[in-house]
Symmetry: C2
Subunit: 468 residues, 2 copies
């Protein structure tokens, strides 16, 4: 049997389909090839120099072994709760939604592992509701706290709260049984706590930013615990690694994808819409939002010049958002590039029931497969967008399985790296998030930040002139 593939399809951005005003001509493609091909080489050099360590994640047999061993130890628990935020949560959620059934948490017949909760916020109402439910199930629940530094305010707040409750209900010994940490191998607050209290733990690899960490222990533990084949996931990523390393631009899906995105950004299409026609793939659009925003949204280029670049990646869901966003997408400003995620064979399908005799106008649906309807809607929407001269890409999954999802993840990570080189920025830092973190500390009364607290005051001072 052939292995299922993820294919990158870009016919519907070409000038042949869209015309010259909004399409890309053969000549423009060749210019993009000329600009991008040397960057593929540079990327491979950077990799060899250890600058893009996320690229080695598909080959960490040792990590896989540790993750699987730990997953085996805890898979009999009833609830598995990830405490993390950003890159320590989005990948976990996306893998679970993609590869386990919709009703996984509610229907024990449909799951091969514990219920999974990924708590990636510090909303008091949400957390209280969760704690009220989990309170008498703590001994059957494993909490996986994920933070490289162990100082992420949100994750730490959750962690301290959960620790307090476990201690209260199960005694100090409960902590060791119910908590697993995923943190820096050597240093940091959570590593110290882990060693002191003897938690089971995994390591966040060095040199891999949160948004590139889904294929590390960060994303793999909850995935393995919930019965997903993580080796297939990594095998798919490894196959894509070969494709995105190809030196020929036109054979390299990450290069072409990055070049098209960069090209349209420069032509004023600064919004990149990812629209999965699959409920399962919907949370990968959120994962992509983070990958794209933190990597490419940069004020300065590599030479230090102010550039303030970065596409705004947004999420839409097919077919749902046809009834919400398509009016804007067709008739609003032509400032968007669309990427559909499409699935050829759905693993589970539904036959639509028969229309009643009194409604022959519905008969076209009788007995049809729901997958045909969904895929027809994708083509119909793409057609309507093309009629309005909006460029459309498609990432086509033969089917959704760990192998293709692994390919997809790696394709987009490599695309991001190449896009970073095209934009001429550092795709691996995130300098702009520090100020907000410091300001939070200041507002929480941390005495080290008194001066900053003073600066923030004008933001919060109530001025009745501007309140209605």
């Amino acid at each position: 049997m052939e292995t299922p593939q993820v294919k990158f399809c870009y016919k519907n951005v070409t000038a042949e389909i869209l015309g010259k005003e909004h399409g890309i001509t053969k000549q423009q493609f060749d210019e993009l090839a000329k600009k991008t091909e040397p960057l593929i080489g540079r990327l491979n050099d950077e990799r060899k120099a250890g600058k893009t360590r996320y690229r080695d994640l598909p080959y960490q047999a040792d990590t896989v072994k540790k993750v699987k061993k730990l997953a085996d130890e805890v898979k009999e628990c009833e609830n598995f709760v990830v405490l993390g935020i950003g890159g320590s949560a989005l990948g976990n959620t996306a893998l679970q939604t993609a590869l386990n059934p919709y009703m996984y948490n509610l229907d024990e017949k449909q799951r091969k592992g514990p219920r999974l909760f990924v708590l990636d916020n510090v909303d008091p109402q949400q957390m209280k509701s969760f704690l009220d439910w989990i309170g008498d199930k703590l001994d059957k629940t494993i909490f996986n706290v994920i933070s490289k530094s162990g100082r992420t305010a949100e994750t730490v707040a959750q962690f301290l709260t959960i620790c307090g409750i476990i201690e209260q209900k199960l005694g100090k010994g409960g902590l060791k049984n119910q908590i697993i940490t995923t943190t820096d191998a050597q240093k940091g607050t959570l590593r110290e706590i882990t060693e002191k209290l003897g938690f089971r733990n995994l390591c966040v690899p060095d040199g891999v930013g949160g948004r590139f960490s889904v294929l590390s222990a960060v994303g793999l533990l909850s995935t393995a615990v919930c019965g997903i084949d993580i080796e297939q996931l990594l095998a798919g990523a490894a196959e894509m690694d070969k494709k995105v390393s190809r030196k020929d631009f036109y054979q390299n899906p990450a290069a072409v994808n990055a070049a098209i995105n960069w090209h349209y950004y420069n032509r004023g299409k600064k919004i990149s819409v990812m629209m999965p026609y699959s409920f399962a793939l919907k949370d990968f659009a959120d994962w992509y939002r983070q990958l794209w925003a933190e990597s490419l949204g940069k004020a300065k280029d590599l030479a230090g010049k102010e550039v303030f670049v970065g596409p705004t990646a947004i999420k839409a869901i097919g077919a749902t958002d046809q009834h919400s966003q398509v009016q804007l997408y067709r008739e609003g400003p032509n400032d968007k590039l669309f990427t559909f995620l499409a699935v050829q064979d759905f693993e589970r399908d539904v036959e639509i029931g028969k229309a009643p005799d009194i409604a022959p106008e519905l008969d076209y649906l009788s007995g049809q497969k729901m997958s045909r309807l969904l895929n027809s809607e994708k083509i119909a929407t793409e057609y309507a967008l093309l009629e309005s001269k909006r460029p459309c890409l498609t990432v086509a999954f033969d089917r959704i399985c760990p192998y293709t999802v692994g390919q997809f993840i790696y394709l987009y990570e490599a695309t991001t790296s190449i896009a970073g080189l095209l934009f001429g920025i550092d795709a691996y830092n995130q300098p702009a998030v520090e100020l907000g973190k410091d300001a939070t500390l200041a507002l929480m009364g941390n005495s080290k930040y008194k001066e900053l607290a003073e600066k923030i005051k004008p933001v919060t001072e109530i001025d009745n002139r501007f309140i209605i």
Copy 2:
């Protein structure tokens, strides 16, 4: 006790805070007032002429009576399933997330009504998973099918499928017990089926588009069934109706909100980010996305001139998206207007646990309220954005309850109407969605659309030159 309020706060878009390059000066505000005030009058005229019937929804005592009666009849069911899409789903989901606990569906102790599912897609894997679970619970499940015409392909496909399964398992008589329709009062496919098969039903009011229908029977039945006080919801909307009818621009929150949005759009800030700092309010950002996109995304103005306008509304979630989007929001193009939703008093709160002695650097969190952390993060993020000269609005909820949520809904509906007048477009049609609907019919083999099917072929023809 004073009634809780929703307040619109716009200090952080003023030039006093932001400077002239990105802020709005007193003079610019006065120009906006001059432009907008006549439109408030026009809006009130249009209302009297019956052109904006959504504005009368807070006063439909008759509908409330019918909805409550029906809700009483079915509230003993175990599962309530809404089959709808777009405006027939987004409001239902948003109200449930806002006003019921996070663990509502999973924890029977936390709910006062049946589990609620809003199925707003035709994904075969998602639907199959759901059907596998619900299959043996059909007699304890009510399905509320919502479609004005009864021809919405997605909703009809769900409806026919469910009918087939109910008939098979419960016999033809089962349909009448388990299905409630919400559809046009007089005409249309679903009305005919309803009358023929004797379904219990409610009416979608005339002259109210889907995206403005949340306060009609469309949004109210599932809400009432799940134990939410719909009269308080409407009372809040009615109070906001008074505020948004005020003729003085500076006293009218919808007018000022619409004017600020329109002003920034014209200054190149074409992306409108709604960022709730509250899990409960997150789905209202999706509701807003639809309201804004379908109402304001228009190719032609009222005179028929091509304009291709419309802000792109997007959703972000505080504090979560600080770890995903804020890097872009601060350092990417300054092309966004931010609207925070903030909550002063959270009904349920959590005390953060004590930091261990070995980690004094975490002590600033020990014993603090989680609500303080979340609200500090909101202010911190706003401060960081202001430092980068990004304009910020806040809609402040005294607390989250039906009354304030009703205010919020009505505030944004009226804001949309005024924004429509400022953009000079028809905010109540959606001409661009028809082509995709027709194309779907063509692709499903509907013989009336053979010619269109031919036109679509170039979109789908496989061209290996553009596949990697």
